[in-house]
Amino acid sequence: MTTFSDPPRESFRLSMLINDTRYRSYTFQFIALLLVIALFAYLGSNLMQNLRDAGLNISYEFLGEPSGYDINQTLIEYDSRSSHWRASVAGILNTLLVAFLGCLTATILGVIVGVLRLSKNWLVRKLMAGYVEAFRNVPVLIWIIIIFTVMTAVLPAPSAFRGDDPARTMLLDAFAFTNRGVYIPKPVWLEGSGIVVGVFIASVIGMFVYRRYATKLLYDTGKLLPMGWPSLVILIVPTLLIFFILGRPIALDYPALKGFNFQGGIQIRGSLIALWLALAVYTGAFIAENVRAGILAVSKGQTEAAASLGLRPGRIMNLVILPQALRVIIPPVISQYLNLTKNSSLAIAVGYMDITGTLGGITLNQTGRAIETVLLLMLFYLAISLTISGVMNLYNNSVKLKER
């Protein structure tokens, strides 16, 4: 038998950079880095050359200049003398508004449809499958345009509400659906409304305290307190009492037809509603599939085991199935929220002034600063995506199965 000893130490040769696996990876990385740097240098020099030829430069000063255009629906004070920067902020808020509304509606819709797709009822099951397939397989842009067309071409003009015997009447005397948008009542905060809101927040907290107390009592002593109706009472009764004691400090400003248009109330533009509903029903179809997959992922043995412990069907769902299904459901649903937020950039197709419509649309066209605006636009969406995926990673780590 031969005895093994350390291989003879070789001195470093240049050919080892290619032939020796220990050094080869350094060669590859060096080449890759060099190529990337060369690519960027090439693009950068082209950019410099092109900018010099066109007599342009990279500058963000345009953000401080007056924008000179109006935004028909903003959450902050804005007029055409405001700066481009303020227009961008108004756009950002509009993006966040439609993303928030869309995510909320899509979740409600998706959960309902996802559960109904597993219903025992054949007809309901097939209907929901039809909904999911119809909305998943058609581009969201087409849905946005279809709903926008409903909002602008099918709904009546405000003049249809006029006269003693109008063609259309307002719903509950409070909501008007017109081709200029939907008018809804606007809350007016009078003196003392702060107290009502404060009491309401306090009763929400009180409800959670009560529920926690009831759970603790159940675990400690086995005594079961009712959960449902006391929570509701704690939530509603104090607020209502204080509301009427203080003499109704929160009033509603109803929209009313004056002249050619509705005055008062809040006007929600058709573009916002089209974008909101289209994104909600489109993303809702995807969320429904995630919910269904999540519930199916919990093995049937879990249901049967819970049933054999003597739990009622409602409790089986709440205590056994849902906690396990949520772990599967939530990560894809969060990435659907991300998709919805990115898809909200399609606002530009219906003229809703989100960040793509203000910064990437009119500001870009007016100032001609294509590179700067598109870069800012990308950074904004990137920031949102990274935030959401950061939240998702935190969640994933917290619900991960603890394995040894």
Partner: protein, 433 residues
């Protein structure tokens, strides 16, 4: 037993009853309805509500569809024919059929070319989609198809697609010769050989440019309609798969610099909406190209959409790579295979098989997203509908027929692809059931 109890029990049956059919409520359609539609009070209410919903949908939709007018020169003529009845004006589809499919600039006497390219697409895709049901010889046609389709749709001198093909063939020959020595030599040698061929070919094509061509050249800006969606969808998906594989391998690599380049690229692309990338293609990309280069908008869009799709496909394939048991990697190492061999022979075939459903999902999503090019004023199907057709005096106001047609077209394609992917998943399932 009966004889034991015959004194203690009043009556014991000692003959079989004749077989009787099950009660009417327990057979056939009645049983099915009782179990599936009316199994309880809440279920019955749900059923009735669903029936009402279906009724209202059909009551609104069917008269519109069945009463539709298929032959009229304008919306006004349509309404004259209908005389106040409910009915769709589908005449717009028949009248503008070619515009919807090919855009409004593609020369009408050449419509047969994209149609033929579309039909041949099925022949080219068949060996890839149904490898066990189609003769393998068709694979040659799949290889030829991209060049044939390019020539059919764009026309122009036949030499350019021929040289494109020759470049690939030369590259493949060089690869075959050199790969036995080392993967890197084969890979880079093949690329160099192909480049040289294309360079020479380009010079030859330029020299013979004056020669009359068999098929008239059609410039890219004349592409439009559903054809544009199909072109963007198929080209970008097929280009993005190799890029996606490369990015996924790069992201899994243990070389930190390469890994981080890939991570940055993928996360950046996945973090921004496709629209911003299309803005880049439309207004920004020109700044980054050498002064004086005139780049087709359609080519710029293809570049950006391909980048977009490859980032998503890379993530799908990375999932496939991660799902492979570690033993596969170790087994490949212990056989003494080097990295390219292990990847080509052991890892990728399995990882790609796992990723197929995901890749198909990305492909469907991408195909739907090709409608976004209408935002940067390209006249794809949606762009045609919103632009030239709805703006024309004859058809101003025919929303539902046109949008419904677009939705139906996309639905048919996307639903078909997803059904195919489910079928494929079942075919590829090798686990025991």
């Amino acid at each position: 037993m009966s004889d034991i109890h015959q004194h203690s029990v009043a009556y014991v049956r000692d003959s079989m009853l004749p077989e009787a059919p099950p009660p009417a409520t327990e057979t056939g359609i009645i049983k099915w309805m009782r179990e599936n539609l009316f199994s309880g009070v809440s279920n019955s209410i749900l059923t009735l509500a669903a029936l009402a919903a279906v009724y209202y949908l059909l009551a609104g939709f069917l008269p519109w569809l069945l009463n539709g007018i298929w032959d009229a020169p304008s919306l006004r003529a349509c309404r004259d024919i209908l005389q106040g009845d409910v009915g769709g004006c589908f005449a717009v589809l028949t009248e503008r059929w070619n515009q919807l499919l090919f855009g409004f600039k593609y020369p009408s006497e050449e419509y047969w070319r994209p149609t033929m390219a579309f039909v041949l697409l099925f022949a080219a895709a068949a060996p890839v989609m149904f490898p066990n049901h189609v003769p393998r010889g068709l694979f040659i046609f799949t290889g030829l198809y991209p060049f044939l389709a390019y020539w059919l749709i764009w026309g122009g001198p036949i030499l350019s697609p021929v040289f494109g093909l020759v470049g690939f063939v030369v590259g493949y020959l060089v690869w075959n010769r050199l790969v036995a020595q080392s993967f890197a030599a084969g890979f880079f040698g093949a690329i160099a050989a192909a480049m040289v061929t294309w360079w020479i070919g380009g010079m030859i094509v330029e020299a013979m440019a004056s020669e009359s061509t068999l098929l008239a050249a059609v410039p890219s800006r004349d592409m439009g309609g559903f054809m544009l969606n199909m072109i963007l969808g198929t080209v970008c998906v097929s280009l993005s798969i190799p890029f996606g594989i490369a990015l996924a391998l790069g992201r899994q690599s243990d070389m930190p610099i390469i890994k981080w380049i890939c991570v940055l690229f993928i996360e950046f692309i996945r973090g921004v909406p496709l629209i911003t990338l299309l803005f880049v293609a439309n207004v920004v990309l020109a700044y980054f190209l050498p002064p004086g280069t005139a780049f087709d908008l359609i080519l710029r869009v293809i570049i950006m959409i391909t980048m977009f799709a490859s980032a998503y496909i890379a993530e799908v394939i990375r999932g496939g790579l991660a799902a492979l048991p570690k033993g596969q990697y170790e087994a490949a190492d212990s056989l003494g295979l080097d990295y390219p061999q292990a990847m080509r022979l052991i890892i990728l075939p399995q990882a790609l098989k796992i990723s197929i459903p995901g890749i198909v999902n990305v492909a469907v999503g991408l195909f739907k997203d090709t409608t976004l090019v209408s935002v940067i004023s390209m006249f794809d199907l949606v762009g045609m509908i919103r632009g030239p057709i709805l703006a024309s005096t004859e058809w101003n106001g025919v929303y539902w027929e046109l949008l419904g047609f677009a939705a139906l077209l996309f639905f048919v394609v996307c639903y078909g692809i997803s059904q195919y992917s489910q079928w494929l998943e079942r075919q590829l399932q090798t686990e025991h059931r």
